[in-house]
Symmetry: C2
């Protein structure tokens, strides 16, 4: 393998599970800090307080300042439906058809996630259950500029609509007045009900607390920069938020029977996102490791986003060789990757052993990128090892559950005394009395 003896910018770290210092190297890979956390909390708190105090005018002033606009009044905040219609009309047929295919498939998959309410009477005669319902209104943050992806609009808005959310409110900044027609077309397609040309912490504050023009929402989702992330954390509690997304990740587990160019393309598909993205290959075949490294180096040179992908691959990429693919499993579970590809002929036995991953792409013909666009599954997935405890975005994120309990005199007579005993034991007298007063009538 040439790269190793001729270190270059595009060379990732190489780890061998059989080497003595593997555990130390792997632990370092696990804990490598991939984000520079800028502390913008004070700035964000000031912006939120301003929006709470001055409402629309604060949002207008901040938008004019940060996005270099000259909005005059609250009427200018909204991007009207005609702009969405016009954007959709101007998108090429090929792209629009692809967006529609994606939207249809995302909707079909997420419809299967709709949870069932439940009601039953148990042996004590107590009626129990729970009922799922949608939040009233959801806010979708869409970044301006290069990170504005129409696919993300679909992935965030469609689950909300499938859940039954009536108001789906999108905010998207238009720096220097530049609108992204693909984003607007996707909003139309996804059934977004209101769009505002605002961004940053001021947009999050407006969604959480409301202004005269923008009614508050109950849940805010979608990716954003450090200001948006900090604002979401600060308004959490007043509204629900989704997870704070980190740089994307792919982990490919591959045997020696793959075309190295395919695997290289997969690794680069995440590396091109961000210099802090992470692409890792685990293989039981040293030749595969070498060939993929070489294929990455060669494909990198042809990429328009070469600098980004190259930095990611060099700084955070890794190729790990293991004695057998079964040895990959504990490493997979410790990495708990956002995206896991199992590029082998029979991926199911391996998949069954994976405990922690946001999404698994099974077999040689399932590049991760199909999941970014058209598989139907959601591309908003847990990063930074949070797949250990969290899940991708789903209709459940836009719904909540109400418990239901119903006793009559008989069933309360059966379970009530135990409640009184426990209330007594806990020293909560009024709790006990609210039950005992209904017993022995």
């Amino acid at each position: 393998m040439t790269g190793r003896s001729q270190p270059q910018r595009s060379e990732p770290r190489r780890l061998d599970a059989r080497s003595a210092d593997f555990e130390a190297q792997f632990a370092e890979l696990l804990t490598a800090k991939r984000e520079t956390a800028v502390d913008v909390n004070n700035d964000v708190a000031a912006i939120i307080a301003d929006v709470q105090a001055r409402g629309d005018q604060a949002v207008i002033d901040l938008t004019n300042k940060f996005d270099r606009l000259s909005l005059k009044g609250a009427d200018d905040l909204r991007i009207p439906q005609e702009r969405l219609d016009a954007a959709a009309a101007n998108v090429s047929t090929e792209t629009l058809d692809a967006l529609k295919l994606a939207a249809d498939r995302i909707e079909a998959f997420h419809a299967k996630q709709l949870p069932e309410s439940m009601r039953f009477t148990d042996e004590a005669g107590v009626e129990l259950g729970h009922r799922w319902s949608a939040v009233d209104a959801a806010g979708l943050y869409v970044p301006g500029g290069t990170a504005a992806y129409p696919s993300s609009v679909l992935m965030n808005a469609i689950p909300a609509r499938v859940a039954g959310v009536e108001r789906v409110v999108m905010v998207v900044p238009t720096p220097d007045g530049i609108e992204n027609p693909l984003v607007l077309a996707a909003a139309k397609l996804a059934g977004v009900t209101e769009v505002y040309r605002i961004g940053g912490a001021q947009a999050v504050a407006a969604l959480a607390y409301g202004t005269n023009t923008i009614a508050p929402v109950d849940k805010i989702v979608g990716p954003g920069n450090a200001y948006v992330a900090a604002a979401k954390r600060q308004v959490f509690g007043t509204v629900g938020i989704d997870m704070i997304a980190g740089p994307s990740e792919i982990l490919v587990v591959a045997d020696g029977e793959n075309d190295p160019a395919w695997i290289a393309a997969d690794l680069l598909s995440q590396a091109e996102h961000d210099p802090s993205s992470q692409s890792i290959l685990i293989t039981d075949n040293v030749q595969c490791a070498d060939d993929v490294a070489q294929a990455v180096a060669s494909q990198l040179k042809q990429l328009s986003r070469e600098n980004t992908a190259s930095a990611s691959w060099h700084d955070y990429g890794a190729i790990i060789t293991v004695p057998s693919l079964d040895d990959a499993i504990p490493l997979v579970n410790r990495l708990a990757p956002e995206h896991l590809e199992l590029a082998v002929a029979d991926p199911e036995p391996l998949a069954d052993k994976v405990r922690h991953a946001g999404a698994i792409f099974l077999g040689r013909y399932t590049p991760e990128a199909v999941g970014d666009y058209v598989a139907g599954t959601n591309h908003v997935l847990p990063t930074a090892r949070s797949a250990r405890f969290s899940s991708g975005l789903s209709v459940l994120d836009f719904m909540k559950r109400t418990s239901l309990v119903k006793c009559d005199a008989d069933s309360l007579g059966r379970i009530g005394p135990a409640a009184v005993a426990l209330a007594d034991a806990e020293g909560l007298e009024a709790h006990g009395r609210s039950v005992s007063i209904r017993l022995n009538r």
Copy 2:
């Protein structure tokens, strides 16, 4: 009604939906701040950093300092299984039986929440699905002192066990060395696998980052003081956390056919929790309003926790009269209460119109307190209007979902071109290539 003309400490606010200033009064009730947010973030950050740096020794030092103990080594941190066994052996039969009845009912209800994994092949030939799995380890925070409730141990630990969590780790401070035998007995009953005598931010840090003695967990749940809440917020992302619980709430909707003493007992059952708790009655019957107010005043005097309940009822309690119970529904949905009682003969039609509530207790024989102990539903429920967007604790809080996607050459041929088109439109060349390289073979 005498109370109104003779204002006294136990008198709550009275609102009449027919009065001209009702909307203003109700809006004020909605936004009344019930928590004094002490900013302990810097203290907490220092404690977390100390535990990350010094591990066990930091936990020992902080525990000795804050809980006035003299632990010598890491071995002293754990409360061994024999202590749990001994605690259970010393609990009265009545209390232990009540705990067991509660545990069995909680387990039975939560078992019905277990989600089903899903796998199917769609018309394009793409195999899709998702798989639910439990987190590896959960940490349960239990406060020391008066707020330590064995019922809360059951409510937090049993859903984790039902979900399939292998390690359920409880932390409970023992200030001055005093253990709570009921809490330890509940831990044994609920299948907690490890118990440590630690609390505060140091316990949360130990659970999140691990020490030599305490292996890290993936999810931390359970109530705590301002330090615990701040610590949970700060470690969020490294681990999952449950919601930050606020003071408890009850909203009773009652017609004129109730025994006022029953309704008064229900209102007091939450008022006795905390001076910041909130108990509200909505009724279509002015006589009921007056009678319940009087019954509360009279029952208050007999309560051991009179001061707490009286402060809560006076400062945050409310009695609202409405023309008809249908007029109560919009108010219920705006309040989005943690606990809602529908004390009417036929509660179902009203319940069907409720959009936002943590739990609904249906009919005259279902006091909220049965839900605190023995109904089987969870008593960890969303407070402070967060029922608009969040749910009570459930097995889902201890599980996560992995998406599954599997294409073959044919199905990739069907959906892949759309992915390439979208990747092109988004300027993500490597994404497109990872798909196109597999097409046309």
